[in-house]
Symmetry: C2
Subunit: 528 residues, 2 copies
């Protein structure tokens, strides 16, 4: 759960593969004048107008270029250490390696934080700066089946990707070791150039992001860590925000999510068989599979689109006029035809318009079937009456819904409708997260993107989810978001990659992405 959502933009661009790009309307018209990113990868137009003293930036830029190989090697070392929470594979080693990388990057205090699951990491870097910025990292990655990859997922091979440039292929390349290593490269470059950090850092990391961050609250709620985070003006996670064209979307938050299994079984129900039975018995024996189907049908409107779970949507805050204006602008700038093509979709629910589809996406809670598994699932048929059937569900939540309220509403609904025996096994999830447009972190991000010729498309929130609620919710109430130029794709999929050397001047390779973090830190030091 979680970070994959960042990579699936609401216009569907995460599905774009190089070579499969349609003629999507270029929507950077407004930014065209300033978009003259030069042929020299690091020659940024309008730099002198920026927040970084010109000579500082020149020195740091030189240092970034000088350390290019070192930065790539750091990312390769990281990827070559698999750290897969779902398989409990390489987690101790992955945690140690991350801690060492933090120390090398200048963090003076680096502590492993035990939890009931995989350990978190707490680190600080006190630069004596007036402002302190929070950082959120994950050191785990998604599973990978080597058979599906064109180069081994933990080899971190550098490969030329036609039309794109040199990319690093590996599990975690873009989600999230690539962008995180890019951020560390920025710290090395600033130190290497003899520059003081423009901000202090309070760093928290978890090793369970890919399994729904079940123990991350145990890290951030630890008194000394909570105390340290309180000093921050905002929290950010390094990110590779650019799509294949170099365009960026900025989200002022994200939906919450609950992921769960509904399990109907004869064992729990007290009706139907406790194990699979010959199907001829259906005439006299209840079916846990039908029971599940009926329970599912009770959750949504007859077209399967609108949740009808009592109380589920009670706390939904409607889109504000500002939200609607933002979405209207996004609808104008993004191409509906391209989004539909990329998503493999001909129609929106209720045949709404493009703008309405984006409003629904940002404003509506959902109950989705991720998977159905019951009885015989192989080729052909098998004449059984299954003793057990499972629906894998995710529910997306908007402010001011909470994960716990939503789960409780679902359970109460099932009990009321005669499905109280159906197990509701929540595997992960968390509340929605929101950060105001006028917060320092969002303003700094927009400023740096614009300086780099990118006019970001803005959305009130991502329809996907990330555990930003631990920062934006009580008690911290800090602005939290993502930042970073750069590009990658294939999170959770085979051949995940991160762009190292770009052939397209509008899309940042690792060095330009590194420099965007430097700019962001200087910017946030000023705008906080």
């Amino acid at each position: 759960m979680g970070k994959e959502f960042e990579f699936e933009h609401q216009d569907g661009t995460a599905l774009v593969e190089a070579g499969a790009i349609g003629d999507r309307r270029t929507f950077l018209q407004g930014a065209a004048a300033t978009a003259a990113v030069g042929a020299a990868a690091l020659a940024l137009p309008g730099w002198t107008r920026g927040a970084v003293p010109a000579d500082d930036m020149a020195a740091i830029t030189a240092e970034i270029e000088k350390r290019h190989e070192e930065s790539v090697k750091r990312l390769q070392t990281w990827i070559r250490q698999p750290s897969i929470a779902a398989e409990n594979r390489g987690m101790a080693e992955g945690c140690e390696l991350t801690m060492n990388m933090l120390r090398e990057a200048g963090f003076t205090q680096v502590t492993k934080i035990p939890t009931d699951g995989q350990p978190g990491i707490f680190a600080t870097l006190d630069a004596g700066a007036p402002r302190t910025v929070g950082l959120y990292f994950m050191y785990d990655v998604k599973q990978a089946d080597p058979a599906e990859w064109s180069s081994p997922p933990f080899e971190a091979r550098l490969v030329d990707k036609p039309g794109l440039g040199k990319v690093l292929i590996g599990r975690g390349a873009v989600n999230q070791k690539g962008p995180e290593a890019t951020f560390l490269a920025a710290l090395h470059a600033m130190r290497g150039a003899g520059r003081k950090m423009p901000v202090n850092f309070v760093f928290v990391a978890e090793g369970e992001e890919e399994i729904g961050s079940p123990h991350f609250p145990q890290v951030v709620r630890k008194p000394e860590i909570a105390e340290a985070l309180k000093k921050c003006t905002s929290v950010y996670m390094p990110f590779a925000a650019q799509d294949l064209r170099g365009d960026v979307t900025v989200y002022l938050g994200a939906k919450g999510v609950v992921e769960l299994e509904l399990v109907s079984s004869g064992e729990r129900w007290g009706r139907g068989p406790k194990k699979d039975l010959h199907s001829s018995n259906k005439a006299r024996v209840d079916s846990p599979a039908w029971h599940l189907v009926e329970a599912l049908a009770s959750l949504v409107s007859p077209d399967g689109n609108d949740p009808v779970i009592e109380g589920f949507a009670a706390k939904v805050r409607p889109l504000s006029d500002a939200d609607k204006k933002m979405i209207a602008e996004a609808a104008r700038r993004l191409s509906e035809a391209d989004a539909k093509k990329l998503m493999g979709v001909d129609r929106w629910v209720h045949d709404v318009s493009w703008q309405e589809s984006l409003e629904l996406l940002d404003s509506r809670p959902t109950v989705n079937i991720e998977g159905l598994v019951g009885g015989y699932t192989g080729p052909g048929g098998k004449t059984i009456l299954p003793g057990r059937a499972v629906a894998k569900i995710d529910m997306r939540l908007v402010p001011d819904m909470t994960a716990m309220d939503s789960l409780a509403a679902l359970k109460e609904h099932l009990a009321k409708k005669g499905f109280g025996d159906i197990e509701v096994n929540m595997s992960g999830g968390y509340d929605p997260t929101s950060t105001p447009l006028d917060s320092s972190i969002i303003q700094a991000a927009i400023a740096v993107y614009k300086k780099n010729g990118i006019d970001p498309v803005m959305f009130p929130r991502l329809a996907g989810s990330w555990p930003g609620y631990v920062f934006t919710g009580d008690p911290l109430r800090l602005p939290a978001g993502h930042f970073g130029m750069g590009h990658g794709n294939g999170a959770h999929a085979p051949d995940e990659y991160y762009l190292i050397e770009s052939k397209n001047p509008k899309v940042a390779g690792i060095d330009l992405a590194t420099r965007s973090h430097v700019e962001f830190l200087y910017e946030i030091a000023q705008t906080s």
Copy 2:
């Protein structure tokens, strides 16, 4: 499909494993007096009252004993040649081997009958007898995964099974090569003893029983075969009818069946995604999985028990008074507690009584979910909105429903309810089959069982299915059923076995089972 049902008796005894036998009420009280099967396996009480001249039977019995090893070897040879239609494995060889076995057993004309699928077999044996009996064989077997077997499925190993005796383990051991080889042993014994066959034979076999007999009509409808079958007084399939206690149930027919997949896809629907999409899009994109759930829910009553497909049950013929009387008697003789225990069931639908449960079983058409497969089916969750979801369905049919009518009713229902886009892919099935209680084949079977101390439990029909309709339906309208003493278990499961040497005098090993076929043929020659 098909033959597995014979092995799952309606009282659940197919689930009995040696050692797991409870204290089920012995219901053979009425037969107890005649049930004194002696210590010598082939010493049948009351034989002289029977249909076979006593000296004939003595000679044939001696011949059966003499040929014991030969009979076992024949079965082993047959099992060692896998013939799996579902995998198109060894089918040509399996067909040839079966044909050779028929020739060796005395059939004078043996012909391979090509079909659009695997070939059938047509054979005749003209003994110059007044009466002709039809025989139905299958030469294919179910798939087998050797990893799940305690001895290799195609090795046909002889193993001592505690409490039971010496069994032969192998795929097809009981379903159906064991009983079929036992029948062939009866022919060899009669010939070996120099006795004339009491009846002529018209033999038909198929190689696709395990995949739903899709081309068997092409065999029996062939003019010269249909013409030959017309001369038969009845058709029977060799069977191992005894459960672990030696008890037998006789069914006067079987339900019909339709097996199919319901496939909901964005591709066909024109709504929802054509392939899996990130689940955050549920807020604006229709879901083929929800569409399937709603379609399924429309097929049955809210408790999942009663089909509500318009016209589906229009031709259901209610149980007759005679049927109800027969079921009431069966309910008295069979133990509800044991059936529930063996089936892993605590309650019947609608909390009906034992007798009512048996009436439902015999009289009600059903719509059953065999399996649900949609989207992500692995461990944990995956945040996708699946482009496709499938329900595997079987529908059981009672007279006078037909497979084609039922399929048409389902399709019409779906179209009417707004689910016309959902694919209905029928993979196999056929009409119900019925044979009158007073038919020669049923009366002969009852007579032979009774002579052997078995008072069979009678049912109007099996709730499972077999393709007897090709004989009992138009145009032949012949009585058709199963006969055979003997015991086996594990059809379609690992460690399928057939009993060779029995330790329980009430349960027939292969020799006594062979003799039961001899008795049956003599009996049917007289009662036809």
